[in-house]
Amino acid sequence: MTWEEMLPLLWPATLETAQMVGWATLFTVLLGLPLGVALVVFDRDGLRPMPALKSALGFVVNVGRSLPFIVLMIAIIPFTRLVVGTTIGTAAFVVPLTVGAVPFFARLVETALREVGTDVVQAAQAMGASRTAIVRKVLLPEALPGLVAGLTVTVVALIGYSAMAGTLGGGGLGDLAVRYGYQRFETLLMIVTVVLLLVIVQLLQSLGDWVARRLSHK
């Protein structure tokens, strides 16, 4: 296979992966961030202790985390059809990607928020800050470097998940690797795909590290 033949395959596949991961990242943040905050706030020694609710949320998160992604993807097909109306194509796979990444990201958010010292939280309470103000003005800004680091890990994990989604009709670089690399023995294309994924992950990780470092004022 020549470069001229590979390029028209690689470019759209890369875009599909970017689309899947991009949308899934957006929805993961929108759902996972509040979930992570809830895990901290409702904790036994959180801002608003509600141990029963916290246990329930923790259980749901653990269920989500314990399912291998390929199993989860298949198991929630009915839900995907309900949300998107179809179960194939790039858009359809944003759903399982999000469902798979939300519990993962929520745990990382929880860990990052727990890193915030109890002394600053109590100082804010002593100043008469409401719970909402403490979450918005203390917990989230203080944890921001950790949140960015967690998001970077999540995005990298999503790229991995998206390759699996590719095998079930989601398109993207994973789909390319299976169809050409595995089924047609196009070794060169396989190698190029691998290198491309490596470069993308490296770049994202470096970007994430750089942003986290810029935000940290310790």
Partner: protein, 318 residues
């Protein structure tokens, strides 16, 4: 200004506060002295209800805090400043941002906020450092930011939780001097907890000595010094305790330049031996303490003369 009655705090089986009463008068600096684990930190945190006491009431500036709803309590807390041992500054904000935090909570408009922040930074001697990050400051400067932040809402009361314990001696003195100045200039009532006698000696008007969840002794320092057998007096002065049998301990609170001791030796038939003594500068003035032994025919009248001269005379049993 601060009144607490019958405060009890229990964590499961552990009793942190065991029936504590506290009366802090307006405009005074009140120190709670005790070792770690004595319950002083719990006591301080009960004053702004960071810890809710198991029993008892807390009144600050005439308001019974234990009776307030969450929202009312938050409003009341905006009028009670607090500073912390490890400063508790937000690393995500600049110095100015940290001082502005309580003003944002109060809903003050931005322009007014900026003016107030500049004013507060000047008050604590940090003018021009507003754009710095907390990690760029020294410990003493961080505590000054903490103080500026605590004063943002014009509080009538400042609570200090071991605010100088993480600082070196020179910085401690400069922070204490600042607190003293704010107390004098703003009429700020300060309740501080500390394990350092030095803090009590340098700034406090009144003191409570805590141990195992109870207040063992409390009152104005000037009064406690004059009370024979007071624990505060024993702890302030570096004389061996208990006093050796037959010794006499004199406490001078009045004019320290009057040569009473030589007067006694000249007027009465006694020999006097000095075992030890020192003079300590307290917030209210100098106080001296001298341990002696007396021998001779006239020891009784000599001691009576010392008492009449305004000294506190404590005789150790023979």
């Amino acid at each position: 200004m601060i009144q607490a009655y019958g405060l009890r705090k229990q964590y499961g089986e552990t009793v942190a506060l065991d029936g504590v009463d506290l009366h802090v008068r307006e405009g005074e600096i009140y120190g709670v002295l005790g070792q770690s684990g004595a319950g002083k930190s719990t006591l301080l945190r009960c004053v702004n209800l960071l810890e809710r006491p198991t029993a008892g009431t807390v009144t600050v500036a005439g308001q019974d805090l234990t009776a307030l709803s969450d929202a009312e309590l938050n409003r009341a807390r905006q009028r009670i400043g607090m500073i912390h041992q490890h400063f508790a500054l937000l690393s995500s904000r600049t110095v100015a941002g940290n001082v502005a935090f309580p003003l944002e909570i109060m809903g003050m408009p931005r322009a007014e906020r900026e003016r107030r922040v500049a004013e507060l930074l000047e008050l604590v001697g940090l003018e021009g450092r507003g754009k710095d990050r907390p990690h760029q400051l020294s410990g003493g400067q961080k505590q000054r930011v903490g103080i500026a932040r605590a004063l943002a809402g014009n509080p009538s009361v400042l609570l200090s939780d071991e605010a100088t314990s993480a600082l070196d001696p020179a910085t401690t003195q400069s922070i204490l001097a600042l607190l003293k100045r704010l107390n004098a200039e703003l009429g700020l009532t300060i309740l501080l907890i500390t394990h350092e006698m030095n803090v009590v000696k340098s700034v406090c008007d009144s003191v409570a000595i805590m141990s195992r969840g109870r207040i063992e002794e409390s009152g104005a320092i000037a009064d406690l010094i004059k009370t024979p057998g007071s624990r505060l007096t024993r702890e302030i002065f570096p004389l061996p305790e208990p006093a050796p049998a037959g010794s006499v301990t004199l406490t001078f609170t009045g004019d320290p330049t009057r040569p009473v001791v030589s007067e006694v030796v000249r007027k009465f038939d006694v020999d006097l031996n000095i075992l030890g003594g020192s003079i300590e500068d307290l917030a209210g003035g100098s106080v001296g303490r001298l341990r002696i032994t007396l021998e001779g025919a006239d020891t009784g009248p000599a001691l009576a003369y010392l008492r009449d001269s305004g000294l506190i005379v404590e005789e150790a049993a023979v």
